[in-house]
């Protein structure tokens, strides 16, 4: 994880009025909200589906559902962030996507354990940039099927 953290360029996204950072090199594209085909049985925990992204069927995860945040209807600012992973691409639905930001390494602190009652293994760290508090996402944990399934059963 060190390597990812030492790379400071990140895309800043908004979820439930909070800001999160995704390393810019894994982001393949940022798309406007479009029709998503619901896939049965995956829906309950990620509100997921698939999308036709230029001829490739791409799985989509609603990050709000993933992080157990209240669901909202898509707005004009809703975006789909396409993440390129080694084996496949996957898209995240987020409330909004902003700028690319340089996050200085010294501003990054480990994830505070007090953040809530939920286990937040998908947060790699927290950075304070000016007055903004930005949470760095640990993508492999966000996508990990086990932790999603576990959550799904809990909820």
């Amino acid at each position: 994880m060190e390597e990812v953290m030492s790379n400071h360029k990140s895309i800043i996204i908004e979820l439930n009025k909070e800001e999160y950072a995704i390393p810019v090199e894994v982001v393949g594209a940022i798309e406007r909200m479009q029709h998503i085909t619901r896939v049965p049985q995956t829906a309950s925990f990620v509100n997921g589906g698939v999308l036709n992204l230029r001829g490739v069927i791409t799985p989509i995860i609603d990050l709000r559902s993933r992080f157990n945040m209240p669901r909202i209807d898509p707005t004009d600012s809703t975006r789909i962030i396409i993440i390129n992973l080694e084996k496949y691409d996957v898209g995240f639905i987020v409330d909004a996507a902003y700028d690319v930001l340089d996050i200085p390494e010294e501003s990054i602190e480990p994830a505070p354990e007090v953040i809530g009652t939920v286990d937040v293994d998908y947060i790699a760290g927290v950075a304070k940039v000016g007055k903004r508090l930005i949470m760095l996402l640990q993508l492999d944990r966000v996508l990990s099927q086990e932790s999603i399934t576990a959550k799904g059963i809990e909820g």
Binding site: T42, V50, I57, V90
Partner: protein, 679 residues
């Protein structure tokens, strides 16, 4: 290395030669009297293989082939009587060769311990009449005779077979040339130039050896110069001129190569030279013949499968866009546009699609041709006599299906041999021919290909199957009494089942047949069994011609669209609510005199919905084997050709969904897996 054009060609051709070795040796075993013709074929394959592997620098491969070739040569020239033991050893050798080639194909270096087999082959060879055992030394001798002790600096020690080739060519009026090629200093792509030079060389003759080795040359592991040992009919000057046509070549020298080897035992063998020359003569004739045959068969090209897959992908995109265009033109209702779009649909939907799909078709022969060997080996292991007949090996199937169908077929054949065909003694007492018959048959019918495996063995013993099934708790005793013969036959494909009293390592513990069934069903096919006790069994596999483009019925459930493969649909119906009956808490309908259970897609796919009280139900009747079910949907949209796409690794397997497709409007529709719904 893996990307090297040579290597790919080498691997492909080696595979072909190995296959042809397999086939011909089998024929040879059955008709030893035709040694003259068949032996020639075998010998040529072995010989070519040897030459190729030596050129590519695969020493072990070349070494083994060389020994094999010696034995074959002796057989061919009637110095050795062919028998089953020799054939066994040769087969082992061929197997090892295949293993090595596969290793090379996987990026390995083809190293393998060939010592034992080489010894075994040598032993066979040594059994020849005394005069023959000198043959090899004769080869060495003749080389030694003209050795002048100076120049082989560039080629190090030549192998025995390399020397043999040189020797042969010498005596047949070919020139052995040592070619030195120096590249221009500014040459950027040295490997490319080397490749071009080799291409020129291969047109005019045969490259015996290169220094640095071909491998090193390809890796650009050399300065500017390299040396090649070439066997050709051209004169040194001609060769030189031809190579100079390749650009960025600074200098070429070609001179007659003279072998120089430490003089070893010079004595005694000269007398054999005559005989050696005779052999050479025959070899050469053989080679010439094979060259003529090659020239005649040559109206095909070899295309990398990746390119075909690429073409297929692009075509799939086109099909999607075509769907979209059709939709748009339908909405716009512009006569000219509609006409054009219709025309385009006809071309891309009919001719183009056929051509592209046909390009991916491969004869089942590719799978079938390994079975004769396998059956031979198995019948030996099992002490049974079996005559394998193959019909329709030219039947074509999509490559993706071909790749998958091999293992299930192997399993079924093993099963037929192990459990089906009886031992010769039993067959005799039962008044059958001692030799069991196994028929492998492939044919087209409609949009499907059928592959049948039938034997005239013991067939399926109903009582045995039922008692086994009960003891293995596959069925209960009450169920057993009501089973039809067909059901009983299907039982042997349920998991945890084995009818052989003794578990053998041939067809295993009975975990296999259900795997066979699953594989075939995952390919969109079906398997049925017919059997008459004492008369034999027939396993019939039905497979779709292609997997990637299928016809579906699009249906709507609330706001969601789903695609149901047309191949599994019997018909569609709209029924009144009052026709739905309840049986054991399950909704069923009476469909043409049959009770058919209803499956509500809304429930299966957890479609969010508010009201559910329609007066009429739209129903798609689907089938799997002889089972039927009715899918309840909201409405039918229509029939369409779609491109099957996978849901991807992340979502993995979703229950009752076999994949997805992109519709004309760019949206994704999920494809219903009807096979899992009926169970």
């Amino acid at each position: 290395m893996e990307n090297s054009e040579y290597l790919e060609m080498f691997i492909e051709e080696s595979k072909e030669h190995i296959q042809s070795l397999n086939n011909q040796i089998l024929v040879l075993e059955n008709e030893p009297e035709n040694m003259a013709t068949i032996g020639g074929e075998i010998f040529r394959s072995a010989h070519t293989l040897k030459g190729m592997s030596a050129t590519m620098g695969f020493k072990d491969l070349a070494n083994l082939t060389h020994k094999m070739e010696n034995v074959l040569d002796a057989v061919r020239n009637d110095q050795l009587k062919i028998n089953s033991d020799i054939i066994d050893v040769i087969f082992q050798a061929v197997d090892q060769l295949e293993g090595m080639v596969l290793d090379i194909a996987d990026g390995g270096n083809g190293f393998s311990d060939v010592g034992d087999l080489v010894k075994a082959l040598q032993a066979i060879e040594d059994k020849e009449e005394p005069i023959k055992s000198n043959k090899q030394s004769a080869t060495a001798t003749s080389q030694n005779l003209n050795s002048t002790n100076s120049n082989a600096i560039h080629f190090g020690q030549l192998d025995q077979f390399e020397l043999a080739v040189l020797d042969q060519s010498d005596e047949n009026g070919f020139n052995n040339l040592e070619v030195k090629v120096k590249l221009n200093q500014n040459c950027l792509l040295k490997a490319a130039r080397v490749y071009m030079v080799f291409e020129v060389l291969e047109q005019i003759g045969e490259v015996i050896k290169a220094d640095p080795s071909v491998q090193e040359l390809e890796e650009e592991n050399f300065e500017l110069e390299f040396h090649v040992l070439l066997v050709t009919k051209d004169t040194p000057e001609e060769v030189k001129q031809k190579i100079l046509k390749v650009s960025e070549i600074e200098e070429v020298t070609a001179s007659v190569f003279e072998q120089k080897i430490e003089q070893k035992d010079l004595d005694s063998q000269a007398e054999n030279n005559n005989e050696q020359a005779d052999n050479n003569q025959q070899t050469k004739q053989g080679e010439n013949k094979s060259k003529t045959t090659k020239a005649v068969g040559g109206k095909t090209i070899r295309v990398n499968i990746d390119r075909l897959d690429g073409l297929m992908n692009l075509f799939e995109e086109l099909v999607i866009d075509r769907g979209r265009l059709e939709q748009i033109s339908g909405n716009l209702k512009n006569a000219e546009l509609q006409e054009t779009v219709e025309r385009m649909s006809r071309i891309s939907g009919g001719d183009l699609q056929n051509i592209i799909l046909n390009m991916r078709m491969v004869p089942v022969e590719q799978v079938f041709n390994r079975f004769p060997r396998m059956v031979r080996q198995l019948s030996k292991d099992l002490n049974k006599k079996i005559n394998l007949e193959i019909v329709g090996a030219e039947t074509e199937l999509d490559r993706t299906v071909i790749d998958e169908i091999g293992d299930p077929l192997v399993h079924l054949i093993r099963n037929a041999l192990d459990h089906g065909v009886e031992t010769p003694e039993i067959r005799k007492t039962n008044g059958k021919d001692e030799v069991g018959r196994l028929l492998l048959k492939a044919y087209h019918s409609g949009n499907h290909v059928f592959i049948e495996i039938s034997d005239d063995g013991a067939g399926i013993n109903r009582e045995k199957v039922i008692s086994k099934a009960i003891s293995n708790r596959v069925i209960s005793e009450e169920e057993a009494t009501q089973l039809t013969d067909k059901k009983v036959n299907q039982l042997i494909m349920s998991s945890g089942f084995s009818t052989a009293d003794k578990i053998s390592d041939i067809s295993g513990r009975g975990v296999g047949l259900d795997v066979v069934k699953n594989t075939i069903e995952s390919l969109g096919g079906t398997i049925t069994i017919e059997s008459k006790e004492g008369k034999g069994s027939l396993f019939s596999i039905q497979l779709p011609l292609t997997l990637s483009i299928i016809s579906v019925l699009l249906v709507e459930v609330e706001k969601e669209k789903y695609a149901v493969p047309l191949s599994s649909i019997i018909e569609t119906a709209i029924i009144n609510k009052s026709e739905i009956l309840n049986a054991h808490n399950k909704k069923v309908i009476d469909f043409r005199g049959k009770v058919v259970p209803l499956i509500d897609l809304k429930q299966v796919f957890e479609v969010p919905s508010d009201q559910q009280n329609d007066e009429f139900y739209s129903i798609v009747i689907i089938r799997k084997g002889d089972k039927m079910a009715g899918l309840v949907v909201d409405s039918f949209i229509g029939q369409q050709e779609i491109v099957l796409k996978s849901l991807g690794d992340y979502l993995g397997n979703v229950f009752a969904i076999s994949g997805a497709t992109i519709l004309g409007d760019g949206q994704v529709a999920l494809i219903v897996d009807t096979n899992t719904l009926i169970n």
